[in-house]
Amino acid sequence: MKPLEIKGLIIQYYVNNQWVDVVSNVDLDIDERGEILAVVGESGCGKTTLGLAVAGLLPSNAKIARGYIKVFDKDVTSTSNSIKIAMIFQDALTSLNPLLTVGEQIAEIDIHHFKMSKKKAFEEAKKRLAEVGLPTTFVSKYPHELSGGQRQRVLIAMAIAMNPELIVADEPTTALDVTTQARVLILLRDLVKKLGIPMIYITHDLALASQIADKIAVMYAGQIVEYSNKYSLFKEPKHPYTQALLSSIPRVDVDVSELHIIKGEPPTPGSFPRGCRFHPRCPLAFSKCFVEEPIPRKVSSYGYVRCHLYG
């Protein structure tokens, strides 16, 4: 029983009187508890939509057109299954209720999910706060009294409080300063590992993914173009897009005098190119790439690459 299994997933949005593919034919999985899968891509590639679908939070104008998402063998789209999935969003301030104290918001989860008494739930809330490195006195504070990093920690505490089967984290630290980001991320990674909760981590930052995740899926124009464990992805990136991305990030640890440029801009849903979706920007594109969409090809025990160069 895998913690997460996504097969042949197609998600469409209803825009301008037609259904448009936003996520196409995605296969992903998490093999064991505590494993972290990073989905990396630029804006508009469909990574947030994918995360929302896993969490069962797609907006009303979106639908899963094909394929399935299973968490511990339970289909997330079926209403008869009760699956506990926690989602951590980017913006901590809008994710918290400004009128309730931090303690009330964390305790609420225990009261509703576990039918705990109010008093006991507050005691639990204090424990949760300590777990994420906040003083227990914070139970009586309101969200506006906290800094961005502290709010994000509260969200993590809430995510863990419900004892979820899966966590979906969508760029939880992009709004934070780098030093705060580092602290919050390491906390999240270590907690998830310690408690054995599988997690999908959605980000645009490959460097962060290399430090947080076990496996990385690179997403482009609604598809996963490469999927592998992080070591082989960084050592031997297969897909031209992954290769280009890796050489286009400025680095803090070494001096780079020139950045690799990927020409053009990523396509938007509804206007994905024919053939390989990356071909208009690919330096290695050949005739086949213009007409035929590549299928995912296995490159290691579980990873795959979607590119004609490999088959």
Binding site: T179, A182, R183, A207, P250, V256, I261
Partner: protein, 321 residues
């Protein structure tokens, strides 16, 4: 050597007044920029790095002449322009903002936005359009883009338009305030590379404000690290990155994850504390967060000491750490 210095500030300060809620009495100041001495040489890119609230954007606005300082001196091309800017220098200092979505008027076509600074200078419409085409080409766009509205462009293209508009008056000095932080990785690489090339072609001088040290390391010659309104470390980029002298610089650098799963990421970050309220601090501003802080740090403000040529640090303990 002095002739090569384009921008120079002396004890530049910008305080924002904090007033009480009802009676509007002055109850304090936010020292957004507090005594900055800076020199930017001709043709140099100085990256100003720091976290939010450090005062880097305020300093940028003061240097772009969009905000009057509270005190200090601002010398541009040897002229004191602290309190007034001679007409002929107005076109020589330009600024590019972070958000290309709000920097362009959505009701104006690219043509109108780009030629506006020239019309203000008294160019005829025809001359201005010719020049606009030249500058759009310089930033990788073309004539066709004159006719479109901003909403028809992508974020990267908009930022190119904003850069073209800044360049069209042939400035000497451009303040770039986080010009790529809202862009995607691949677009960011394009814009950074473009800015680097244009700088050499047009003999420009940049003040590049960013919170991203990796971007700073790529674009800059000199790095200035700002904390709580002050420059705490400044030096040639390779010196600053390979041998940071200030504990704050060190913690900033260590916070960046290396893009390499085999490298170990070990951020050295002291516990969180607020840097916003810095009204009544006598000693080093970083002392509350600094893991090495001694008594002297809380008592006395450290001077900016030149440790090796061109590499300065504002720390009492730089040679003990």
């Amino acid at each position: 050597m002095d002739s090569r210095i384009l921008v120079k500030t002396e004890k530049l300060r910008k305080y924002y007044v904090v007033r009480s809620k009802i009676l509007k009495r002055v109850i304090g100041y936010v020292k957004a920029v507090d005594g900055v001495d800076l020199e930017v040489k001709e043709g140099e890119t100085l990256a100003l790095v720091g976290e939010s609230g450090s005062g880097k954007s305020t300093l940028g606005l003061v240097l772009a002449k969009l905000l009057k300082p509270t005190d200090g001196r601002y010398i541009f091309k040897g002229l004191d322009i602290t309190w007034s800017l001679p007409k002929e220098l107005r076109s020589k200092i330009r600024i590019v903002f972070q958000d290309p979505y709000s920097a362009l008027n959505p009701r104006l076509k690219v043509r109108e936005s780009v030629i506006e600074p020239l019309i203000v200078q008294g160019y005829s419409g025809k001359e201005a359009v010719e020049k606009a085409i030249e500058y759009l080409k310089l930033v990788g766009l073309n004539e066709e883009h004159l006719k479109v509205y901003p909403h028809m462009l992508s974020g990267g293209q908009r930022q190119r338009v904003v850069i073209a508009r800044a360049l069209i008056t042939e400035p000497d000095f451009i303040v770039l305030d986080e010009p790529t932080s809202m862009l995607d990785v691949s677009t960011q690489a394009q814009i950074l590379q473009l800015l680097k090339e244009i700088k050499i072609k047009r003999n420009l001088t940049y003040l590049f404000i960013t919170h991203n040290l990796a971007v700073a390391r790529f674009i800059a010659d000199t790095i200035a690290v700002m904390f709580a309104g002050q420059i705490v470390e400044i030096g040639e980029k390779n010196n600053v990155f390979s041998k940071p002298l200030h504990p704050y610089t060190n913690s900033l650098i260590s916070a960046y994850p290396p893009p390499d799963p085999e490298a170990i990421w070990k951020p050295e970050i002291p516990e969180e504390s607020s840097i916003e309220n810095t009204t009544n601090i006598n000693g080093c501003r970083y002392a509350d967060r600094c893991p090495y802080a001694k008594n002297i740090c809380r008592r006395e403000e450290p001077p900016l000491i030149e440790v090796i040529k061109g590499h300065k640090v504002k720390c009492h303990l730089y040679n003990l750490i």
